[in-house]
């Protein structure tokens, strides 16, 4: 990392410890749900310690989306009904939405657009992973949801720097990630990865956030998920959910398509499913915020 890039990271992270409960609680939840030794009771205890978070999780579980016949009144029951990974994803989604709502800066960074892209990319990542590596589909959802963490943090916490990056995007008609690398010597994907590391997120997120734009560089054990999110980012953009600040659909890596064995028929099916499920899912995810 260059000195300039380190300075950018410091500016973004200055005061970041005062952010809402997200990093601490979520880092723990993310670690617990990947550990075989954690029980539903351990995780529900952790979520229950954050009243705002547990009420959002219960509101989601009791929504018409899941259609359970009886009211689910505690988080342990929710985990039994939905599974660890789904409750983890709900908790992460609820916390991320809450954290970024306060970062809205009209004219420069559209939280709404960021959020729509995040939800579409998360759903698309899950759909693609379900075919390629079904056991890791829930992980792919979380990586997709947080894929633009670096961009959102830069826009929210260092708006002057983000403005300079956007000026470069508009002048040269290049992606935000490339413009940030040119202006700040620090691309937004690496920035997101550094933030994830600072918050003690699992290695899966640290590595995938860093490499999902160029997934061939990801360590072998994370490569498949990074590739799924990479393709999902392009698919979401193709259907109109472009990332915040972006003018064009993100370039796709042909090797990722080949290695994932993604073909036109499969992509078309995923695109149709995404269009059908997005409205319902986005409404549900928004409710968590």
């Amino acid at each position: 990392m260059t000195t300039r890039c380190q300075a950018v990271l410091q500016e973004v992270m200055r005061g970041a410890k005062e952010l809402p409960t997200l990093p601490h609680v979520i880092a723990k939840i993310l670690r617990m749900t990947t550990s075989a030794e954690s029980s539903a009771a351990d995780i529900s205890k952790l979520i229950a310690n954050d009243p705002a978070l547990s009420s959002r999780v219960l509101r989601l579980v009791n929504s018409a989306f899941y259609g359970f016949p009886r009211k689910v009144s505690n988080v342990t029951r929710a985990i039994v009904l939905l599974g660890f990974a789904k409750v983890r994803n709900l908790a992460v989604t609820a916390s991320v939405a809450q954290m970024f709502t306060g970062l809205e800066r009209p004219g420069e960074f559209s939280f709404r657009r960021y959020w729509e892209h995040a939800v579409a990319t998360a759903l698309a990542s899950e759909l693609i992973a379900k075919r390629v590596c079904p056991a890791r589909a829930d992980d792919a959802f979380v990586v997709g949801l947080l894929s633009e963490l670096g961009k959102a943090m830069l826009a929210g916490r260092a708006p002057d720097l983000y403005r300079k990056v956007l000026a470069e995007v508009n002048e040269l008609e290049i992606p935000v990630n490339q413009a940030a690398a040119q202006v700040l010597e620090c691309d937004v994907a690496s920035l997101g990865s550094e933030i994830a590391q600072y918050w003690n997120f699992p290695e899966l997120l640290v590595q995938c956030l860093k490499h999902y734009r160029a997934p061939q560089k990801a360590p072998p054990e994370y490569r498949e998920i990074a590739q799924c999110v990479h393709v999902a980012d392009t698919l979401a953009g193709s259907l109109g959910w472009l990332g915040a600040g972006e003018k064009f659909v993100a370039d796709v890596d042909g090797v990722a398509l080949m290695e994932l064995k993604v073909d036109e028929a499969g992509l078309t099916q995923d695109a149709n499913t995404l269009l059908k499920s997005y409205d319902t899912s986005a409404a549900v995810l928004q409710m968590a915020a």
């Binding site: 989306f65 259609g67 193709s238 259907l239 064009f248 078309t268 499913t273 319902t280």
Partner: protein, 109 residues
């Protein structure tokens, strides 16, 4: 009577067979007309397939025709604009075809 994937169901299609839950209880009876809300509800409850009356190709074409011409042009223009950078790239053209087929079904791949 054609069996179709629920994700391809369109509002206005008529159920040919009742939809039942895992315990055999009827969720929706034969002859019910599908709406967006009903399709969403069935998807949420984990149903994948339904049987409908009539020719699904005709019904699909009828639902495509519901997109007004002005809106179709707008979708087409937005699609061209966001793919303006990937014109010489065959993989990006693949995604453009996928997006067009999903957003404007009759244009096809």
């Amino acid at each position: 009577m054609p069996k179709i994937a629920l994700i391809n169901a369109k509002p206005g299609m008529i159920l040919g067979q009742p939809v039942e839950d895992d315990l055999g209880r009827v969720v929706l009876g034969a002859g019910e007309a599908l709406t967006d809300d009903l399709i969403r509800l069935l998807l949420k409850r984990g149903h994948n397939e339904i049987q409908v009356r009539g020719d699904t190709r005709i019904m699909a074409a009828a639902s495509i025709a519901q997109i007004p011409e002005a809106r179709r042009r707008e979708i087409e223009n937005q699609l061209e604009a966001r793919f303006a950078r990937g014109e010489g790239d065959s993989n990006m053209q693949l995604f453009k075809r996928v997006a067009r087929a999903a957003l404007l079904p009759e244009a096809g791949p």
